[in-house]
């Protein structure tokens, strides 16, 4: 059900909406942090947070409150909150809008989060390219410090708090939480073996919670209205997928962008009602639902959930476009919700060229620690390139499956799955197109198109 809301986005579009004055006027700015720090106990904060059913907005969908509850006080080591604003997943363009247009919600969220998990410092890891985002966050921190909200005694409470913006160096893998921690420590951004998990040994070897930036930005709104009430804003609150979140759409739609809605919006609403429909009024061809690592859906796919116990049963036989966008619902249809920013492909887009483009990305971004990922991503790219060039064979088409399957489950971090799953998705959903290239019925020069219509950049 399309239900637009403006909890996280109320300051968007307001003149100087990123400043403290607007945040205090429009969003009860910092009143929630004041109340939480002055009246609540640490453990009550975590228990309350659980009721919000905020599923991590960074891609994996882990419940935020449960993650906070993993933090145990350490006798000698401090605890840290680390915010993931690496926003590198292709197709994802939502966290950036919060940093640019409502940075104070991030700072206030960090204050409540730190208090709940027992940390005094939050590091916000922002990819270096987002210079405006970093500047807006630093300015918000300075404003909050000047008012005495951040600092030695926030709101007069004896609980020192500081927020620091840290920057990366241009590497997608640093979005992976343990790679991000290494990068924060001034090392190469290579993922770490788990366990230990960050809650045991994270930043600087200390107990750490890593949350996505949108996850933490939702915290002040949730605590302001009461976390259970916040959760119930969602159409799929009963699936423990609560609240409101940002939905993005890009690619072949008339009106790409980011909107805040109650959880439970459908792809059809996102693409047609918010995105304005497909460019050139072409038929919809395929959708990558939540970042390039989430397996592609065909526009004509139907839900298959005959089992009445399946959470998806209510949508059995319906189009996948009408399933509420949720963590478990999208897992149920064989893909992932991911970052909740969808990439739309119109009729006429070549799925082989699309997979080739993505495999270039994964080849470029593998950190190289694990052989299946380092070598596999290279092979996936080379063979896809051969097929696209009309030099591929049917055996090689099958080899692509083998390579991808060999990456799955055999790597240090989930980048491996993030490479293999989209490859397998394209191969499975668009087998006929791949075979057409192998048989010479389609050619890169005439059919390998990624753009449609006159709406695209035309130059050259």
């Amino acid at each position: 059900m399309l239900k637009r809301t403006d909890y996280l986005t109320k300051t968007y579009g307001k003149p100087e909406g990123w400043t403290l004055g607007v945040y205090e006027r429009e969003c009860h700015g910092y009143q929630t942090a004041r109340r939480v720090l002055s009246t609540m106990k640490k453990d009550d904060v975590v228990n309350e947070a659980k009721k919000a059913n905020i599923r991590g907005r960074g891609g994996a969908g882990f419940p935020m409150g449960v993650k906070w509850s993993f933090m145990r006080p350490h006798p000698t080591k401090p605890a840290y909150l680390v915010i993931n604003a690496d926003e590198g997943e292709p197709g994802t363009h939502k966290d950036r809008t919060i940093m640019e247009l409502n940075p104070h919600s991030v700072i206030e969220g960090c204050m409540i989060g730190c208090y709940g998990i027992g940390a005094h410092v939050a590091y916000i890891y922002v990819r270096d390219e987002l210079h405006l985002s970093k500047a807006r966050l630093w300015a918000a921190i300075a404003e909050a410090k000047a008012k005495g909200y951040l600092g030695a005694r926030p709101f007069g409470v004896d609980y020192p708090l500081d927020v620091v913006v840290h920057t990366g160096g241009g590497a997608y893998i640093c979005g992976e939480e343990t790679s991000l921690l290494n990068s924060l420590e001034g090392r190469r951004g290579e993922p770490r073996l788990k366990p230990p998990f960050p809650a045991q040994a994270g930043a600087f070897g200390c107990p750490t919670t890593v949350n996505n930036l949108e996850t933490i930005a939702a915290v002040p709104s949730a605590f302001h209205m009461g976390c259970e009430a916040f959760s119930k804003l969602s159409a799929i609150h009963h699936l423990n997928d609560g609240g409101v979140r940002l939905f993005g759409v890009n690619g072949h739609v008339k009106n790409p962008g980011v909107w805040e809605c109650a959880v439970g919006l459908t792809l059809r609403e996102l693409i047609y009602d918010l995105g304005g429909g497909v460019l050139g009024d072409k038929p919809l061809f395929a959708i990558i639902p939540g970042g390039s690592s989430t397996p592609v859906l065909r526009a004509d796919e139907l839900v298959h959930a005959p089992d009445e116990k399946s959470p998806l049963h209510p949508w059995h036989g319906q189009s996948v476009l009408d399933v509420p966008l949720g963590v478990d619902t999208f897992r149920g249809i064989g893909t992932m919700l991911g970052t909740c920013c969808a990439t739309v492909l119109a009729e006429g887009t070549c799925p082989v060229a699309a997979m080739h483009n993505l495999m270039q990305f994964y080849r470029h971004e593998s950190c190289g620690q694990c052989t299946p990922c380092r070598e596999g991503s290279g092979w996936l790219l080379r063979i896809t390139e051969k097929i696209l060039d009309g030099r591929g064979t049917m055996e090689e088409l099958d080899q692509l499956h083998d390579i991808a399957n060999n990456i799955m489950g055999n790597t240090i971090c989930a980048f491996g799955e993030g490479t293999a799953m989209p490859a397998l998705g394209f191969l499975k959903k668009f087998r006929r197109e791949f075979e057409a290239y192998v048989r010479g019925e389609k050619k890169k020069s005439t059919d390998g198109r990624l753009t449609v219509d006159h709406h695209d950049f035309v130059g050259g």
Binding site: G169, V258, D456, F457, G460
Partner: protein, 158 residues
């Protein structure tokens, strides 16, 4: 020649050091600071960073080579990055790159003969909803048209 930061930047470095429990954590922000001044991370910069932050030069080199934003050789005065990843490609990033290459007379990865512009491709820059796009030095340029790109490149070459 040994490398040293300008006094203003050196003060900034001192501020950066205060943010972390150890000196190594400042390495990436400090390398950005040095590259802003020097244009690239030369061996002199590596040795300077190593001394300044008490980490072995080999560690600094390992970090510099890991992250794509650190230049390991001199580059043009301006950096132009065209995002090439799928969401941008669906909106014409391929044509945008071809247009830039033709206009500048260089391929991606090269620098114009006058040393003014280095052209490169980037992977997704979190701007997919405003594609096609490119980053010029520290600024994003989004929803690009051929006219807008021409105006931008002309300005940079002036």
């Amino acid at each position: 020649m040994t490398f040293a930061l300008t006094p203003e930047r050196d003060q900034e470095l001192e501020q950066i050091l205060k943010r972390y429990p150890n000196r190594m954590a400042a390495l990436i922000p400090v390398l950005h600071l040095a590259q802003d001044q020097n244009g690239w991370i030369s061996e002199e910069v590596v040795e300077w960073a190593s001394r300044r932050l008490d980490v072995p030069p080999a560690h600094v080199r390992g970090v510099v080579t890991f992250y794509t934003l650190f230049n390991q050789k001199p580059v043009g005065k301006h950096q132009v990055w065209v995002c090439r990843t799928l969401p941008c490609a669906l909106r014409g990033a391929g044509q945008l790159l071809a247009h830039c290459e033709k206009k500048l007379g260089i391929h991606a990865g090269e620098t114009t003969a006058d040393g003014k512009i280095t052209l490169r491709t980037a992977e997704c820059l979190a701007s997919c909803g405003t594609a096609p796009m490119m980053q010029v030095d520290k600024t994003y340029h989004e929803n690009l048209t051929p006219e807008a790109v021409d105006a931008l490149l002309d300005e940079l070459r002036r």
